[in-house]
Every structure is written in structure tokens, then in C-alpha cells.
Symmetry: C2
Subunit: 196 residues, 2 copies
Amino acid sequence: MPELLFQKFDEKIELTDEEKKLSCSFFVPKKLRKRQYLLQEGDVCKYIAFIEKGLLRSYTVDDKGNEHITQFAFEGWWISDQYSFLTGEPSEYNIEAMEDCELLLLTKQTEEGMLEKIPKLERFFRLLLQSNLIATQKRLVSSLSQSAEERYNEFISACPTTLPRRIPQHMLASYLGVTPETISRIRKQMSSKSIK
Amino acid sequence: MPELLFQKFDEKIELTDEEKKLSCSFFVPKKLRKRQYLLQEGDVCKYIAFIEKGLLRSYTVDDKGNEHITQFAFEGWWISDQYSFLTGEPSEYNIEAMEDCELLLLTKQTEEGMLEKIPKLERFFRLLLQSNLIATQKRLVSSLSQSAEERYNEFISACPTTLPRRIPQHMLASYLGVTPETISRIRKQMSSKSIK
């Protein structure tokens, strides 16, 4: 039984044991090894993935060949390209496993089937999207208005304590829209402050 | 009868005439004159607003006193600060009418009541949040990876043709995270290209 998934359901809605059991039948388990892709640019995003174990990143590559990381997602989170999943258009994103991962996948068809059989999950996904939208809006405002230091501090204070250790410095820099040297400088400044 | 609201419902879900009529009873109509506020920074956001007529903007002010516009919203769109609305925490945003506006408001209580009476609307709001999330993610990627010209062109091609005329140049600059001089330069370049 996917205990972490059930725990996430319980945080937002009330499902009976029967409904939880039924929900499982719509998910397909999938293992990815580190550096394998769930989605590659140009392909249609066929899945919404719930992460039971591991860490993934989604990123896009601009015309000059620079990577821009749009999301890190780890245990208990969901990852997908909503636009491609919804429209069937080819995706502009890549979703790559940064560690060995265990995922539970929904396709468009199984998601619709599940929502039809368990309408309470409409509410779950509405609330999930709401949280996701709030976080994305916050990041957008940060990218428009905050300094590199402020963005770094906001990321560190909002994420679980073990996460920064799992993310290579150059990827965190890409996520925050700064250079790796900037992250290095901020970290040095912070450690010298904490020593004083 | 709020025809535009019903039209928006029809685009995403199927409601009976009875359900549409019932939904109306949860909304409170509100008129705002140009420059009046629906929400001011530091207050709790009490409303989700559907816009029947007019144009609003939401913006935040950074520590240096610079405004950053996060959203323009016009007829047929919704505007709110989801985070403050959801958590009851004071908002960091201002929502101001840029023209005389006619709104339909939901409070947290009336939204919950409406979703309880008309559960199909869970789906409507889920799909609405999904579209909003996709647009916000797209803007985030643009802000991290695109030039001022690319962002301007993307905005112009995605929005209704009359909208740019309704938005003052300095506000569009704030929304795109560039200076008003940059917008001016891009517009000149584009008009000289179209003459040639």
C-alpha cells in the first residue's frame, strides 16, 4: 500500500479505506534510475507522477543552450508538464531523475477514470493545484524583485533541511536564475557570519 | 443573469439551468471605480473576484519601493491572492481597478457553500487553477530565460488584441520586469519593421 500517497490524501480530504484501495488501481508503479528521463523535450507528457522515493528536476533549454530548472520534486510531491499533459502538445520541458526514483503514474485516461469513480479527488487535485500556483506565483515575484541572496535564503528556509545537500550547486543556481559563483559567494558569506 | 460567468462555466463543465441559477446566489456583485482597491497590502484577502467588466492589476512593492505587477485581469477572468485567501494571512499584494469595474465576489464561506451544493464546480475550479498554473509557469520560465523583446512579443501574441491599448506603458514594463524605455524602444523597432 502506498502509505505516503494516502498520507497526502489525508492532509487534504477524507477518503474511506475502500476509496483509498480503489485509487491504487489507477496508478502504475515505475522505477527510474538516476539520470533517466520521465519526459524529454519534444515528446508529449503522458504522465502525472507521484514521487514515493527520490528526487527529480524539470528543466527547459533556451535557444542559447542554457538550462533553466523550473522545479525540483521529491518524496510526497507530484511532477508533470501540466500544459503538455492537458493539451497533448509536445513539451518544452525535460523531467530527469536526479536520484534513483520510485514513482506512481497516472495517465490522462486513468486520471479521468479515477476522478469519475472517486469524485472527492477533484477537491484533492484542486487544492494541490492551488498550493502549486501559490508557490509558483511566489517564485515569479522573487525572480522579478529579489536579489540573489534573498532568493537563496527563501529557498533554504522553505525546503526540507536535507534537500539542499541533495542538489548540486550548479543546479540550485539554475533554479534560482543566478550563477554558481553567486551561490558559492553567498554560502561563504553565510558560513563566515555564523562563525562570528 | 451573469451571462459571461455562465459562458465560462460552459467552457469547462456542464451545469443544468437550475445549478447555474443556484450558483448566482453565492456571488455578491461589487462595483469598483478606477483606482479603487479590492485588496491592499497587509489586509487579509477576503474575496475571489470574477470580472464582468473592467480591468484590474495585482502588484507587490519591494523593500526599495519598486512596484512589481504580477497580473492583469479583465472581463471573464478571476483575480485574488490565493495564498492570503486560503491561509487568512495578511497579503503582500495590492489589487487595484485600472478602469471602472463590475465584479462578482465569493468569500471563503460562500465558495465552500457553493462547492458543497454544486460539487461539479470542484472540477471547474480545478481546471481554472490548472490553466492559471500553466500560464504562471510559462511566465516564470520567460522571466528566467527570455530577453525583453521575447517577453514583450509573447505577451502581445497571447493577450486579446485590445488589451495592450488599455495598459499604460510603465505598467506593462513593470509586468514584464523591464524598464519603460525598453518597451518604448521595442515598439519603435517593431513599427519601423512593419513600415519597411
